[in-house]
């Protein structure tokens, strides 16, 4: 059977959640893999939410917020962008490919775009294969311990997951 990734989405209430609703109203069908959580603003998305979702078994996490300049709360989406970029740098340390977390701007009028984003993200994660973060954290920590003990050369943090 083909691998069906389980994806968690964090959508801001004003643009992206509304855009996702619009995809529904317009009956634009897309991959059923994403399960969305509504937050008021993408600025509310704490990086720990993403780690938590990956840790609990998600194969990928999609963050969607208002386009730059369109944030209902003026600039929450810029905060989300910064946190996202920082988080992507840290992910390899946990043995997680940074591509598993993806940020996209989806406006309230972009139902079609939302569907496209979900389809593309689903395809991407399908290609990456399943993630078992609990295991990969363990693996990466094991590696860290080795690094500390030998106090030797730093490894790039890329966990060699099969």
């Amino acid at each position: 059977m083909e691998f069906e990734p389980k994806l968690v989405g964090f959508l801001c209430n004003w643009c992206s959640y509304t855009g996702a609703d619009l995809a529904g109203t317009a009956r634009i069908s897309y991959a059923p893999n994403l399960r969305a959580i509504r937050v008021m603003c993408s600025g509310r998305i704490d990086p720990t939410f993403i780690i938590k979702a990956l840790y609990e078994g998600a194969d990928g996490v999609l963050i969607a917020g208002c386009h730059p300049g369109d944030c209902h709360y003026q600039e929450g989406n810029y905060k989300a962008l910064r946190r996202y970029k920082l988080l992507k740098r840290i992910l390899p340390e946990y043995g997680v490919e940074p591509e598993r977390v993806h940020l996209e701007w989806v406006a309230a009028s972009e139902g079609e775009k939302f569907a496209k984003v979900v389809n593309e993200f689903t395809d991407k994660i399908k290609k990456l294969g399943p993630l078992n973060m609990k295991q990969s954290i363990f693996d990466s920590m094991k590696e860290d311990i080795v690094v500390h003990e030998s106090a030797g050369e730093e490894k790039g943090g890329e966990a060699d997951e099969a």
């Binding site: 069906e4 389980k6 968690v8 209430n13 004003w14 643009c15 959640y17 509304t18 996702a20 609703d21 995809a23 529904g24 109203t25 009956r27 634009i28 069908s29 897309y30 059923p32 399960r35 969305a36 959580i37 509504r38 937050v39 008021m40 603003c41 600025g43 509310r44 998305i45 704490d46 990086p47 720990t48 939410f49 938590k52 979702a53 609990e56 078994g57 998600a58 208002c66 300049g69 369109d70 209902h72 709360y73 003026q74 600039e75 929450g76 905060k79 946190r83 406006a107 309230a108 009028s109 972009e110 569907a115």
Partner: protein, 659 residues
């Protein structure tokens, strides 16, 4: 006692039940922790549906409610009210979106059902962690800001003022009146536009409850429903409004001119005086002229000051500067209207390069009795045209420019045809894609025109050129068009062509939208709260839209919408108080380290630092609950009510629990 969650699954007719196995979903829900009961019903939002929840709550069978149905943006409020009626805090309810984001978008029943189960499990877990929140109420300032003084803004402002409420009407141009003031006749009744509009404009100018700010622009909007702080820039007119009596001496004597001196009839088209100090048109409200700096001899060359000398009231003031006014309002009505599409981007139509190719707005001005041609239809050289073509859908219904239909062009094109027939002996050609005559009396008007010897050619004009072939065509325009009813390409020489240009979003609408925190769609118009049930409201409470700010529409529809918006505002004002979102952020003092990271993050300046206690404090009245500070706090000292970490973690766990 552990939390007892009641789960209610809505079939939504076949909208949900057609794609999701309700029995399976209900069976799944029953096995979830904390679920006390599961019910499903055809329409949860109906009275009997709501009663199901109410009776379970009143009987004390449950203390949390999960409704799996449509989007919370649709019915969250409906079910919150059910909780309230049943004496349960409305924030102990949460919604699972299994329609818009599930049954409507997935083809396969098995995967839709599986997704619905995950979503429901997440909601149930979230429900366990929900906390009761206290309602917040704010007083509503009874004053309203209306942005835009066209017919939309005028109608809205008058409705409110007549009800005894204060209105501030801000208009960017020197006079109110908008586009309607440029029209001679209105379709389909052929009422004289000025006769029906100017009395209303005068009422605006005189009404005790209306503060009219013309030649002014809204610069800043802060605050929230009930209490918006507004900053308006009053542009310098160089004429003192309190002293001027509109006598007209200044523009009569002014040697400057706003139009090209050597221009032809079309280049000199204007409604009001063409001098540098001018009134936009003679019925302008306020009846106070303004100096056009670009063409004023004094401002450009430093010499002249004739208007100053002839003004008996000493109202001219060259040193005037832009000034600012700040005030508070409770509600905002956006009535910014439209701007016409610029057809010069369609090169093959020759607008701007070929003579005698006009836009519809220019043609309106030419028809206006008080305009520069005195209402006569003239070619650029001042002679009467013998044949006129009217090209429909220029920039509308065209994927290269605007996909939408501008809704008014068919009808004003018919009006033009009638006016041409009335005023001249010219032959009239209408080049149309479809004739959309949908309003009251519109089809009848079309029928009448069919009897007025007007030619209708179904086809989109391919090109307007000067490729003349014969001597008698030498001053003419050659229109090439595919006549789709005949099935042939035709070549038609014409004296004049009028382009029915699309209605576009008003220049600056994006800025207004941003100030008001409302979104615009891909067509550039502001998105209404609901396309059917909330056509004048927006996603931001206290911000309403009327007229073309929402989408292209004609005068009757605009007026209807303006009255709808003013009645919506009145219902807000009459309530005096409004409930606002209780889900704000809160700082737990004991956890706050006083690092002040959050202080600068808040876009609403709601976070202050308490110097004595050395902790940050959130002003709840200003907080809008976005949660940006919550995610930033390194000490986890800030909680987002209704979206706190525990609740979201529970939701994440729920979503992923099935595997």
């Amino acid at each position: 006692m552990p939390e007892r969650v009641g789960v209610y699954i809505c079939h939504c007719g076949s909208n949900i039940a057609g794609k999701i196995d309700i029995e399976k979903l209900a069976g799944f829900a029953e096995k979830l922790d904390n679920v006390a009961l599961v019910r499903d019903y055809k329409f949860m939002c109906s009275d009997p549906g709501q009663n199901l929840i109410q009776s379970d709550l009143e009987a004390g069978l449950i203390d949390r409610v999960v409704v799996a149905s449509c989007s919370p943006l649709m019915h969250e409020n409906t079910f919150r009210k059910v909780c309230e009626r049943s004496g349960v805090n409305p924030y102990l309810f949460t919604m699972t979106n299994i329609r818009e984001q599930c049954s409507w978008v997935h083809i396969d029943e098995a995967s839709s059902t599986e997704k619905a189960m995950d979503l429901l499990a997440a909601s149930v877990r979230r429900a366990v962690y929900l906390e009761p929140l206290e309602k917040r109420e704010v007083a509503i300032n009874p004053r309203t800001l209306v942005i835009g003084g066209g017919i939309a803004g005028i109608q809205a402002a008058l409705d409110l003022a007549e009800a005894g409420k204060e209105v501030v009407l801000v208009e960017r141009e020197p006079s109110i009146g908008g586009h309607m003031a440029k029209f001679d006749k209105t379709f389909p009744t052929l009422d004289c536009a000025a006769c029906i509009l100017t009395p209303r404009m005068v009422q605006i100018g005189q009404h005790a409850n209306i503060h009219l700010m013309s030649y002014a622009e809204v610069e800043e909007i802060n605050g929230y429903v009930g209490n918006f702080n507004i900053k308006v820039r009053q542009k310098a007119r160089y004429v003192d409004a309190d002293l001027c009596n509109g006598c007209g001496m200044c523009w009569e004597k002014c040697p400057g001119t706003r139009v090209p001196r050597k221009g032809n009839v079309h280049e000199k088209l204007s409604l009001g005086p063409t001098s540098s100090i001018y009134m936009p048109f003679m019925q302008a409200i306020p009846a106070i002229p303004v100096i056009d700096r670009e063409s004023c001899l004094y401002f450009q060359k430093g010499k002249c000051r004739i208007c100053e000398q002839v003004c008996e009231r000493n109202a001219i003031n060259y040193d005037m500067e832009d000034s600012f006014e700040e005030f508070e309002v409770g509600n905002i009505i956006i009535a910014t209207g439209f701007q016409p599409f610029d057809p010069s981007v369609i090169k093959r139509y020759g607008y701007g390069t070929l003579p005698n190719v006009l836009t519809s707005v220019e043609f309106e001005i030419m028809n206006c009795a008080s305009g520069s041609t005195g209402g006569k239809i003239l070619k650029a050289d001042g002679t009467e045209p013998k044949s006129i073509g009217i090209v429909h859908c220029v920039g509308s219904r065209d994927k290269h420019y605007h996909e939408y239909c501008s809704r008014v062009c068919c009808m004003y094109a018919l009006k033009f045809a009638h006016l041409i027939k009335e005023k001249t002996d010219a032959e009239v050609y209408n080049f149309y894609i479809d004739l959309r005559c949908f309003g009251k009396g519109y089809e009848e008007f079309y029928d009448r025109l069919l009897g007025e010897d007007v030619r209708f050619i179904r086809g989109k004009v391919g090109e307007i050129s000067r490729w003349v072939a014969e001597e008698d065509e030498k001053d003419q325009l050659i229109v090439r068009v595919e006549d789709t009813l005949v099935g042939a390409v035709r070549r038609i020489p014409l004296d004049m062509v009028v382009l029915c240009t699309a209605l576009e979003k008003q220049d600056g609408l994006d800025r207004v939208a941003k100030m008001c925190s409302v979104s615009v769609g891909k067509d550039g118009f502001i998105i209404e709260k609901h396309p059917k049930l909330g056509p004048v409201s927006t996603a931001t409470d206290g911000v309403f839209i009327v007229g073309v700010a929402q989408s292209p529409k004609d005068i009757p529809d605009t007026v209807a919408q303006a009255s709808a918006a003013s009645s919506a505002v009145l219902s807000m004002i009459t309530r005096e108080k409004i409930e606002i979102e209780a889900a704000t952020a809160e700082i737990i003092e004991e956890k706050c380290s006083g690092c002040r990271i959050c202080n600068n993050l808040c876009p609403y300046l709601a976070i202050n630092f308490d110097e004595e206690k050395k902790v940050s404090i959130i002003n709840e009245a200003l907080c809008k609950g976005c949660g940006t500070c919550v995610a930033a706090c390194p000490s986890n000292a800030i909680t987002a009510k209704h979206f706190n970490d525990k609740q979201i973690f529970a939701e994440i766990e729920g979503l992923l629990s099935a595997r």
